[in-house]
Subunit: 199 residues, 2 copies
DNA sequence: TTTTAATATAATTTG
DNA sequence: CAAATTATATTAAT
């Protein structure tokens, strides 16, 4: 998350954004729109609500790679998810997205191809935690299921994971715990209730 | 008809301390920042004063009622996401159909029971907006991302939602816009930077 | 099939 | 109200 430091300047950048009329200032209470007109499907087919998927891990990557000649090459983002371009090339398990469509595929190739696909669909490749990572995470979780940023960072360092992975892991872990609690509670209530009916 | 509510809609006292949902016992809110110390089993308990949470939507709650026979019946509000199709009807929270509780629980019952429980855990059940509701909200948002109370009320009426839901929706929507704005700015700066390296 | 990492977004809390 | 978090419903990878 430390990335935004680059964001500071470049005013020209914001100009080329479609739509987005700086939403903080104009409160446009003047706009005469009726809900009926909207319900009546007044379609302004302009920019459909910038449904930009959130792909934070892509921010860290760059299209720049060094070739064998030690010269930079720009790798063109090939992707089409919706109509946006996404570029890969970065992160843990890294594969090249230059699709060489010339032969048939080994198991390994097929695997990475699958990973490619999911990549292009815009989803972060699923992280496979090691047994040790899980163990540590579980131990920490036992003591504190809401670790603050400092603990998460420390964990990230020690376990060699992104802090983001840690945070997500804790989120999912809490959800899991809650699920199991709910289930046992349900059973308890159900049993209590059921037996109360039998008395 | 002559039902008497046994269930005061109040999960009294309860959890809902800041950051300490009730399903895990008291947790350290103040942490010492070393994983070693955590792994080394440092436990620390501190009671935090509970404040009564604001749960306005619980006021309508009546689950356990006495029937005419003076026996308890469990009334389970059933959310109809409609098992049939994926659309239509909104407002899961509001439309309640009563299931008479007998011996066993169907999958549907179980589900809604679980929802009940989470309800009592203190959080409003997540509202699932319909496609149409979203569409209208998005359209309004395009024109005015800060609708006043009157517009919100009107929307609420037309979309059959609480005005509160509308308000929250707009808040979240503004946050989303802002986020995406930030992100595209970042990407642009990044790309500018990258291509400047190629010149 | 089951579990769970990842995503999107509704709800809550703070200031 | 915005910002930051948290919860949760889904989706999809394994």
């Amino acid at each position: 998350m430390a990335s935004t430091s680059l964001c500071a300047a470049n005013p020209s950048a914001s100009q080329s954004l479609r739509k987005v009329p700086g939403f903080v200032e104009n409160k446009t209470t003047q706009c005469s729109f009726s809900i009926e007109s909207i319900l009546g499907l007044e379609q302004k087919k302009d920019g459909i609500a910038a449904a930009k998927p959130h792909r934070p891990w892509m921010d860290a990557c760059t299209n720049l790679v060094l070739g064998d000649d030690n010269n930079p090459h720009l790798q063109i983002p090939v992707v089409s998810y919706d109509n946006s371009l996404f570029h890969a090339n970065s992160n843990p398990v890294q594969e090249e997205k230059v699709l060489k469509c010339d032969k048939y595929f080994s198991v390994t190739e097929r695997l990475s191809f699958k990973r490619e696909l999911s990549w292009y669909r815009g989803r972060r490749p699923r992280t496979a935690f090691t047994r040790n990572q899980i163990e540590v995470l579980e131990n920490v979780f036992k003591m504190n299921s809401y670790p603050g940023i400092d603990i998460r960072e420390e964990l990230a360092r020690k376990l060699d994971l992104d802090e983001d992975r840690i945070q997500i892991w804790f989120q999912n872990r809490r959800a899991k715990l809650k699920r199991s609690h709910r289930e046992s509670q349900f059973l308890m209530v159900k049993n209590n209730f059921t037996s109360s009916l039998l008395e």
